[in-house]
Symmetry: C2
Subunit: 277 residues, 2 copies
């Protein structure tokens, strides 16, 4: 593991590390913010942040301004890249498939299955590495934006007890029903749509046996809302399942990091409360 960036920020330190990922078969980078001062007994709890299409680990750490809230609440934030990387990793000409578009699934179809295993990477390998390398506890929560909001909801709903809380900004809540999901899941998981359901938050919330706190923010001026996001599907699926989830429609906000930066403080506070519990 090699440290490639280190910056003082908000009384703590924002670092970027690279490491050889055995799950993905390539070198990966992730950002990690560690608050200043002594960690609590047992270490800082960890919020995992999953970014959206086209992003690397840089977008969140440079644009969300979450560090000040993480410092205030004593939370480490880990922000991985969004796909495997490298010259021998399969890619697509579009920005919504391949590099920068891992969709947090374990691909089963060639050529993607050779490297595209972001679900297992984020769930297993990355937390094991983080917990062995930084002053953190095993308490985890997860959040993300757009494709990363989808990843966060799927990880939390499929793994009872693994995360204390989950939140999302502008998530793709029903990938099996929208064009982004059709393209990505068709490529990564194949044409059998029953295999897609394991990565669809609206399906998963209907099957969930375990409740955890859920917070979703969605801007009403988001240009992807109608075609790709369809937030109402998650509201309806959660209601039908009797699963409490706070979904907030934020008037006039779009899909950008201006939206994320506006509400990320509330999300960090939401997770910090669950992580302390």
């Amino acid at each position: 593991m090699e440290r490639v960036e280190s910056h003082a920020v908000s009384g703590g330190v924002q670092e970027v590390w690279s490491h050889a990922s055995s799950t993905l078969g390539c070198t990966m980078r992730f950002g990690v913010f560690v608050p200043g001062g002594e960690p609590p007994a047992g270490g800082f709890p960890v919020l995992y942040w999953l970014s959206g299409l086209t992003c690397t680990e840089q977008n969140f750490i440079t644009k969300a301004a979450a560090q000040r809230y993480a410092a205030e609440h004593g939370v480490v934030i880990v922000a991985p890249d969004t796909s495997p990387r490298g010259d021998d990793v399969a890619d697509d000409a579009g920005w919504d498939l391949g590099k920068g578009a891992g969709f947090y699934v374990d691909a089963t179809q060639a050529p993607w299955s050779a490297h595209y295993r972001m679900y297992t990477y984020v769930r297993d390998e990355l937390p094991a590495l983080v917990e062995a390398s930084f002053p953190v506890s095993a308490a985890r929560s997860v959040s993300g934006h757009s494709m990363g909001g989808h990843g966060a909801l799927v990880l939390a709903l499929r793994n009872p007890g693994m995360y204390r809380s989950v939140s999302a900004f502008s998530p793709i809540v029903a990938p099996t029903e929208v064009p982004w999901g059709h393209k990505a899941f068709g490529a990564y998981l194949g044409s059998d749509r029953s295999a897609w359901e394991a990565y669809d938050a609206c399906v998963l919330v209907g099957r969930a046996s375990h409740r955890l706190p859920v917070l979703v923010d969605q801007g009403t001026a988001d240009g992807f809302l109608e075609e790709q996001l369809q937030t109402h599907r998650f509201v309806e699926a959660a209601a039908a399942a009797g699963f409490p989830a706070e979904v907030r429609m934020q008037d006039g906000y779009d899909h950008s990091y201006y939206f994320v930066s506006t509400f990320v403080g509330e999300h960090v506070a939401f997770h910090a409360a669950a992580l302390r519990g």
Copy 2:
């Protein structure tokens, strides 16, 4: 004038506008954040933000996360580009001269003098445009980063009464004494070094007849501190002149926007207090 971006953020709106600048003889862009809600009688006061080498209007508006503080304090923030732009504007192969490196001077030497008049643009044309186009008052303060910190200090020290307060992050305080300034001033202003003094904050603070609140933050881990910034020169020049200036050395911080984002809330509060007065 044309609006090219508009995003809701922190309860207000972050916009980017383009306009034909008569001072610079080219099309220019600037960012403007306007808080939400009704402006006070007379309009919001304005903080001008001047960015550093290689920057456009984007760096500050996407990375500093100042909007939440501007919203809280009821301050408009205007962030111009750092040089004239366009195919017919002179440039240099280096990143520290030409486009992205206007140094907030009015160039007197060919080929630069045709367009490079950022001092007059920021002092006269841009505020006139802003005050005619947005719900703002004539109350102004100015801040900036690195080359922009130099620009802020020079504008405030040379124009008594024009700005209520001035602050800077990692400013080039003595351009006549350091390599960045030698290169830029030699090109823009020529070899007669007496012409350079009108753009040197350390010289100007010794000549200033008018006092205004001054706040400077400088990171101790800034890789440019020793060769290009030399903050101690400003501390010494202000002390010799009996000019009160708060200069804070911030332990462990570097030259990046992580540093700016950490302290920008304190700078906005500092300016808001002066702008209310």
